[in-house]
Symmetry: C2
């Protein structure tokens, strides 16, 4: 379903070249549950941005469901992202002037879902992350973990084939973390492909495969301890 | 050193009253190392904002080093914050147009520290959080954990008497977390008062006292398991 071949992502920083990704080869089948683990600065978010078609590699290819993503124009890329991919960003990227339900409805709007259906589905997604009593709060009226859960709900509301989650439990206490992990496990059992960056060994343990990244390269790729 | 008496912090949300803090009484002595633990939405950040003099309670008093903070005007409050308190925000609040060293120098500028000294001290703070090779990167050119560490360095650069850290290791892998916890332990041993909100039991274990918050109230307050 997802294939990265020899992916490089470089940044020129003054006279220094930062190799955020330095030759990444990765294949993920539909329905897998993969944890991506790496130290701070190792390249995990950069890899997620390439997988989410939000960033183009400096070199190498990204093939999603048979289509080479680098060949797509912006409009086609946007449509692919909206239909196939749900993304939980490490820094959430909620719209400050929309309340929780407004933020969660947004991808449904882009997908052309009728207004009444958008609201019902957004409220249902918020209920699944435990935020039914915060739907009319804007991001600044929400705690860090509540904002995190709005971002998760927004990523799930379109029922994407692939969920890319960059540190989905970073701002959550352990009970809420377990609640979210249970939700994700259920979605994966129902067929959703999950690719999750995490620093939390407990989150990585829930995945069936662990890919370790160091200095922009994959250094190990195998079954998780609990697989 | 720090005393909250009967602190309430309410928000009117339409026809609902949100009691983010619902009668908090807390005393912390100079040199203590306190972890504040609570579920997502329990009121920990709200409490930190009151302690950091960034938010005034709806009712109740906050006394810092003998001065009742609610009596101070904005200028006096600003000066107290700059001199006495270092704050690591849950969402970092870095300035997007300044690079790492520029962000870390900022509180030294407000404190009137001469330009050359500011740079030396900022670079030293960045070195202590392992970011010597990222000093000229702006926040968007940094990973999540690197941004987090810039926020930590900025909070420490003025050598404040009190460090308020709201989830200081949330975006960090375990090795970097240990590095930061070691840094904090050393500063506490040298006399800095540490008040740390955390969801991470490993971080709470490093503190000597744990205060648990639920629904805006303190439900327990005692020695940490490892104290
Ligand atoms: N401006 C506001 N208006 C209305 N409600 C608010 C506002 N700010 C915070 N709240 C509510 O107050 C409660 C406490 O928020 P706070 O940010 O202190 O939680 P927290 O303990 O830091 O949670 P987390 O661990 O998720 O960061 C939350 O339920 C939140 O929704
Ligand atoms: N725009 C940029 N310009 C220069 N360097 C960058 C840029 N974006 C990221 N980097 C660097 O690329 C490296 C990888 O960044 P990335 O965000 O992928 O790390 P990460 O694995 O997600 O880290 P974390 O766990 O801290 O979030 C980092 O060292 C970072 O400083
Ligand atoms: Mg990252
Ligand atoms: Mg908080």
């Amino acid at each position: 379903l997802v294939e990265l071949v020899d992916v490089q992502r470089h940044y020129q920083q003054g006279d220094e070249l930062v190799r955020a990704l330095d030759g990444v080869n990765l294949q993920i089948e539909a329905g897998e549950y993969v944890a991506i683990v790496g130290a701070s600065g190792s390249g995990t978010s950069t890899m997620m941005n390439v997988l989410g078609a939000l960033d183009r590699p400096t070199s190498g290819t990204y093939t999603l469901d048979g289509t080479e993503v680098s060949q797509l124009g912006d409009a086609a890329l946007s449509a692919v992202r909206n239909r196939a991919i749900g993304f939980v960003f490490q820094s959430f990227h909620l719209l400050p002037r929309l309340d929780a339900v407004g933020n969660v409805e947004l991808p449904l709007g882009y997908a052309g879902v009728p207004r009444a259906d958008r609201r019902v589905r957004a409220l249902s997604a918020l209920q699944r992350v435990g935020l039914s009593d915060r739907t009319t709060h804007t991001p600044s009226q929400l705690s860090g973990g509540q904002q995190h859960r709005v971002a998760i709900a927004r990523a799930l509301v379109t029922e994407p084939r692939i969920l890319l989650a960059d540190e989905p439990t970073g701002a959550l206490d352990s009970d809420t973390t377990q609640q979210i992990l249970g939700l994700l496990a259920g979605l994966n059992a129902a067929g959703m492909t999950l690719i999750v960056v995490t620093h939390d060994t407990e989150v990585a343990a829930r995945a069936r495969r662990v890919v370790r990244i160091k200095d922009g390269r994959i250094v190990s790729d195998g079954p998780s301890a609990t697989a």
